[in-house]
Every structure is written in structure tokens, then in C-alpha cells.
Point group: C2
Chain length 224, copies 2
């Protein structure tokens, strides 16, 4: 095992403060299709595979989901989310944390259930050189979270096994995927989950935001 | 003590699905004033007194709050929220639950940290006769939640002591205020808090939404 571990980051709610805009964009999309779901239930499903997400919400509403409805929902969400992108900011400390890891020679990657098309404009907000980054999106693997594929592929691109990595995420889907990938899970509160929800899903450490993870890297046993 | 207890309901996130719209309206207001706060921190403060809310968030951002800034924030939030009101719906079962309590002769009231001006358009969405309702808003008491004033006043108007009432709320501010008023707290997940956050704040029972509280009224020992 290398002396230094590596970090695999979720994007929305972990590095970028975009969860609540995703939530209301999905709420708009579902309402436009006549599907009634209370908004907190949308919130608790952000970060999981889009297909699973739509299935779960549509099923809860008592409606049924076919491929055409799923495509329309996805399209409506994308349109609604686009109007909100300009207002979205990185989470406190996101850029500093990533720069610090790079400066310490600790490899890191971003692994998101979103598509590259949606993820890139958000990643660019951090002001880091995108071309040097390892970014895995759902269009590059068979299954998104909570399947482990995204994190397994991100670790592979860093030349590590998932067991040599920390997965940092704000949702239980990140932490379930981390467990399935055999990586250690670190939870952030910045996606709006409660602490115990993340702990129960497998997080062995909890921080508020990227800034507090940066300050508490020693709690992960990082040599920096 | 009367044979039947009474119910004191919070409004936003408890009867009406309006928390996430409040959150993004506050985010807009704060950003417009150059105050940077991650959105989950706004979410966790919804439902508390507006004055406390602004103080807490502005302090966390490192800025300082004077009366003029507080007035501007409040005004900007009101303007941003108004554009979202038409999309807001009652939570599943809210109307049915209140109708059921009325039919059983169980008194109930609504007690909210919001102003009557903001609360009324939301209450009207449930389609119940507003003139017959007991509604206490922050303009009618000295201090909003987590002070107990709103629930104490609501109980008084129902002719009960707070100890004869259940307080139903989605936020820890409701549950702290319930404890201070000496009422039993019931938590709903529909405001987006995690279950343990509500339990730690004093909820002795947790339900998902008003609909599940209606189905589980027997768990509160209600004779209906």
C-alpha cells in the first residue's frame, strides 16, 4: 500500500453548493409532469443514479415510469437547472482543499452521478485547471451511485485500489457506494443530510464542509 | 386535564411544502448583500425567529448585522419568496389531518415564526376555512421560536395549557420551543431534517409527513 492514500470526491453538495438548486429543478420537472412528490423526498435522493432517482420518486407518487417519461423528466430538470447555474458557488474551502492535496502529492479525483455536460460548468467554478483533473461521470461507467462503479473507476485512473482511497461525499448514496467499493467513507454536512444519516450509511468521520475537512485532515491520518 | 389533548402545528415544512423555497429565497437575499453562507446552513435555520436567523448567518459569514441590513435582508427574502409562492403546495395529508382532528373534536392551532402576511397565502392553499382557524404569527408575540411564546399563546387561545398539547414541527426550533413550553414534541421529516436531529431536539415520535401522522395518530394515544 502506498504511504499516502488518495481522495475520491463527490461533486454536488461536496465540492459545489448545488444540491438545493438540483432539488427545486427536479421539483419543477416532476410538477410539470403532474407527479406530486414532497420536496424533502427529492432532496434525499439527490446524488443517486438518475434512472434510480426517477423510478423511486415516480413509484412513490403512485404513477408509473416509462422511458419516454424518464427522458422528459431528465430534460426538464436539465432546463430548470441551467437557469440556476449562474447563482451556484463552490462550497467554502473546496478549491483550497484540492490545491492543498495536490501540493502534498496526494492524488484526488471527482466521481459524480451527473453527466459530464452538467458537471463541467460546476467544476469550472472552482477555478482549478480542469484539463489536469481526473473526473469520472455517469456517462463513463455502467451504473451510477449507489453502485460502486464510479469510485472504482476513479481509483483505477489514479492507479490505486479503492481500499487505498477515502471517498468524500454528502449523501448516503456516496457512502453506500464507498462501502461497496471497499473504500473508507467521509461525510460532509454540506448537502443537507443529518450527521447520523451519514454515519449510519458508513461515514467514519463527519465534517461540515470542505474547509473543515481541510482543517481536520490529520483526523484521517493524512501525512501533509 | 381534558380527555383529549390539543395540537399545535408549525406551518412551513409541517403543513406546507415551503422550506426549500424559503431556503433559496434567503440564499438570494444574502448573496445580493454580498454575504456568503453555504445553503445547508440556511436550511438548518429555517423556522427560527427572523432576527436570530439573520444574526446567526451573518455572524457565521464574518460580516456584522445592523438594523438596516436586517431590514434589507428581510425585504429581499420576501420579494424572492413571493415569486415562488404559486409553485408551493400543501404537504401530503395536511388538509385531511386537520379535517380529521376537527371532526374528532380535537382542538388545533397553527403557530409560525413567519409573519401573518407570509403565512396566510400558504395556509389558504390547504382549502380550509381560514376564519375559523387559530393562527398565531410572530407579529403577535414578543419572541418567535425557539422561544416558547408562539406555542404558549396558541395553547392559551385553545383554552389549554401547553402541557395538554402536542407540538408538531419539522425543525429543531419547533422542538426546542415545545420543550420550553412544556409540550410534547412530534417531529416530521418533511422539512428535510434527519430523524436523529429531531429526536435529539426533543421529538418523542417521528413521522414522515402529515399523512403518516394521520395514519399513526394512535401512536400518540389519541382517542378518535
Amino acid at each position: 500500500m502506498p504511504a499516502q492514500t488518495a481522495f475520491l470526491f463527490d461533486l454536488d453538495g461536496t465540492l459545489i453548493d448545488s444540491v438545493y438548486q438540483h432539488v427545486l429543478s427536479w421539483a419543477e420537472a416532476l410538477t410539470a409532469e403532474g407527479i406530486n412528490v414532497p420536496i424533502w423526498r427529492i432532496h434525499r435522493r439527490i446524488g443517486m443514479s438518475g434512472g434510480l432517482f426517477s423510478q423511486a420518486l415516480v413509484r412513490e407518487s403512485g404513477a408509473s415510469l416509462d422511458a419516454a417519461l424518464q427522458a422528459r423528466l431528465s430534460q426538464r430538470h436539465a432546463v430548470a437547472f441551467k437557469t440556476r447555474i449562474s447563482a451556484i458557488k463552490p462550497l467554502p474551502g473546496a478549491e483550497l482543499l484540492l490545491r492543498h492535496l495536490t501540493a502534498c502529492g496526494i492524488p484526488w479525483a471527482i466521481a459524480t452521478s451527473g453527466l459530464m455536460e452538467t458537471a463541467l460548468p460546476l467544476i469550472e467554478k472552482m477555478g482549478l485547471p480542469v484539463d489536469d483533473m481526473t473526473v469520472v461521470t455517469r456517462d463513463q461507467v455502467a451504473f451510477a451511485k449507489p453502485n460502486p462503479d464510479l469510485f472504482i473507476e476513479a481509483a483505477r485512473r489514479l492507479g490505486r485500489s479503492p481500499a487505498e482511497c477515502f471517498v468524500v461525499g454528502d449523501s448516503i448514496w456516496d457512502l453506500l457506494a464507498a462501502q461497496r467499493a471497499d473504500a473508507l467513507g467521509v461525510g460532509l454536512l454540506s448537502g443537507g443530510y443529518g450527521e447520523e444519516e451519514l454515519v449510519r450509511a458508513g461515514a467514519f468521520r463527519i465534517f461540515a464542509e470542505p474547509a473543515s475537512l481541510l482543517n481536520g485532515l490529520f483526523e484521517l491520518g493524512i501525512r501533509s
